[in-house]
């Protein structure tokens, strides 16, 4: 599983970081998403990534499986 982030689309709501702070962070510049682990392999991490993608308000996050 690979997660991709479009920082142009991102609005910096922080939902991904709230859902999984070990997998997502935000830029101090414009709040946009920073991927800490673009290819998570642990089942827990994959589940958290799926939740974060579902909650992303702007559609900036997507999954490539």
């Amino acid at each position: 599983m690979r997660v991709e982030a479009d920082t142009e689309v991102c609005v910096g709501s922080g939902m991904c970081a709230l859902t999984a702070s070990h997998l997502f962070d935000q830029s101090d510049e414009d709040g946009s998403v920073i991927l800490l682990d673009p290819e998570p392999s642990a089942p827990d991490a994959q589940r958290a990534v799926r939740e974060a993608v579902g909650r992303c308000p702007s559609g900036a996050l997507s999954l490539v499986e």
Partner: protein
């Protein structure tokens, strides 16, 4: 069908059978006609959407616009009319579409990241503790709206923006007038004028003598002109203050009415984060919902929405959708409530939501910890609710301990 829901002919129904539940007719609509035709009070014919998945999808759909000029009053209210028609400065980016909106959002989002907001936690804890100390000195009883929720959230947002202590009384006077139900539209306009004047002076001062705060940072970025700076700051102030204060007070009232849930929270502090989300879901204080307008013809689940038809997305009813949240009308602080739409969804989702979460967590925890015997001081009195205000809540919350 024998139980057809009445058509919505005069704006959003606002009569609540229970003070903490959305009007029953809206729940009925959600199951029978989740995208229902609605005639707004000005005669405009648009739509009312009440199902969680549909509300969420529309909020994320770029074919829908947020422009103020296409919005209509959802129910007759002098105050809401002022918000829409008043002489507002530019910079109100909640009413903008991309790319105009993008400039503001990108400029501000870096200031409200989860990490930055978490760093404010000790300061917010200190502010909450100071207000509790003041309450102890004067009480019991105390009014948790006037003595805790409003001043706490005002102080947090003033410090973050950089409104100096010497100006805060003026700010709080103007802002509490705007929060009050008992003032005329003229007085509200006057209070808004005072607030705008104060912000205009501040913007000028920060340009000459920058300090370490959000407003100085915005001024020095050079991205916005003075009028846009005033407008954007006004939005942050009002959005950051009135909402949090009301959710803090109304959430506390809710817990006082639900002693079992309160007991669970007292017994296990680790439940607080989930409880904050559940109270956000359960109460959904933006009780008017939010509006969008299709820019082109859009079909959703067989219903055709035409360009220009106002679509009212009713967040409180969507957050009580049984398909999304089992047993939705029950408050359950152990529920997994994230995924609620209280902060909206899409590109306009609340910029300050991570700050709000921390303020609410600190606010509720401080009250529960400091007042083990917290109770309603007038348990038999029906508290007046903010039914006609833009943000729902209690006007006062008298407590004893």
């Amino acid at each position: 069908m024998t139980d057809m829901v009445c058509p919505i002919t005069n704006g959003l129904p606002t009569h609540r059978e229970q003070p903490l539940d959305p009007p029953e007719v809206l729940g009925q609509l959600r199951s029978e006609q989740p995208i229902a035709p609605m005639t707004f009070p000005d005669g405009h014919r648009g739509w009312l959407v009440t199902r969680h998945d549909q509300v969420k999808a529309i909020l994320a759909d770029p074919r829908f616009s947020s422009r103020a000029s296409a919005k209509h009053l959802a129910f007759p209210s002098d105050r809401a009319a002022l918000d829409l028609e008043g002489d507002m400065p530019p910079g109100q980016f909640e009413h903008m579409d991309p790319p105009e909106h993008t400039k503001y959002r990108k400029l501000l989002a870096g200031q409200f990241t989860l990490r930055r907001m978490k760093q404010l936690t000790p300061r917010i804890e200190k502010i909450a503790a100071d207000h509790v100390a003041a309450i102890r000195r004067q009480g019991p009883p105390a009014d948790l709206v006037k003595d805790f929720a409003v001043p706490m959230s005002a102080q947090v947002i003033c410090e973050l923006l950089g409104i100096p202590v010497e100006d805060r009384e003026r700010f709080e006077a103007a802002s509490s007038s705007l929060l009050s139900l008992d003032i005329s539209p003229e007085e509200a306009m006057g209070a808004m004028g005072n607030l705008l004047g104060l912000l205009g002076e501040l913007v000028q001062r920060k340009a000459v003598e920058p300090t370490d705060d959000l407003l100085s940072g915005l001024v020095s970025s050079g991205e916005l002109n003075p009028a846009e700076l005033v407008g954007a700051t006004l939005l942050l102030l009002v959005a950051g203050h009135e909402t949090t204060a009301n959710q803090l007070a109304l959430g506390t009232y809710t817990l006082l009415r639900e002693p079992e849930q309160m007991a669970k929270l007292r017994a296990d502090e680790s439940l607080i984060e989930g409880a904050v989300e559940e109270l956000l879901r359960y109460l959904t204080i933006v009780h008017i919902g939010v509006q969008r307008t299709p820019l082109e013809e859009v079909e959703i689940d067989g219903v055709v929405l035409k360009p220009g038809e106002a679509v009212l997305l009713h967040l409180p009813t969507a957050n009580r959708d049984p398909k999304r949240f089992p047993d939705p009308d029950r408050l359950d602080v152990t529920r997994k409530a994230l995924g609620h739409l209280t902060f909206s969804h899409g590109i306009h989702q609340c910029l300050g939501q991570q700050l709000a979460r921390i303020e609410l967590r600190v606010g509720y925890s401080t009250l529960l910890r400091e007042f083990p015997e917290l109770r309603l001081a007038e348990p038999d009195v029906e508290l007046p609710m903010r039914s006609n205000m833009t943000v729902y809540g209690v006007h006062r919350l008298p407590v004893a301990w």
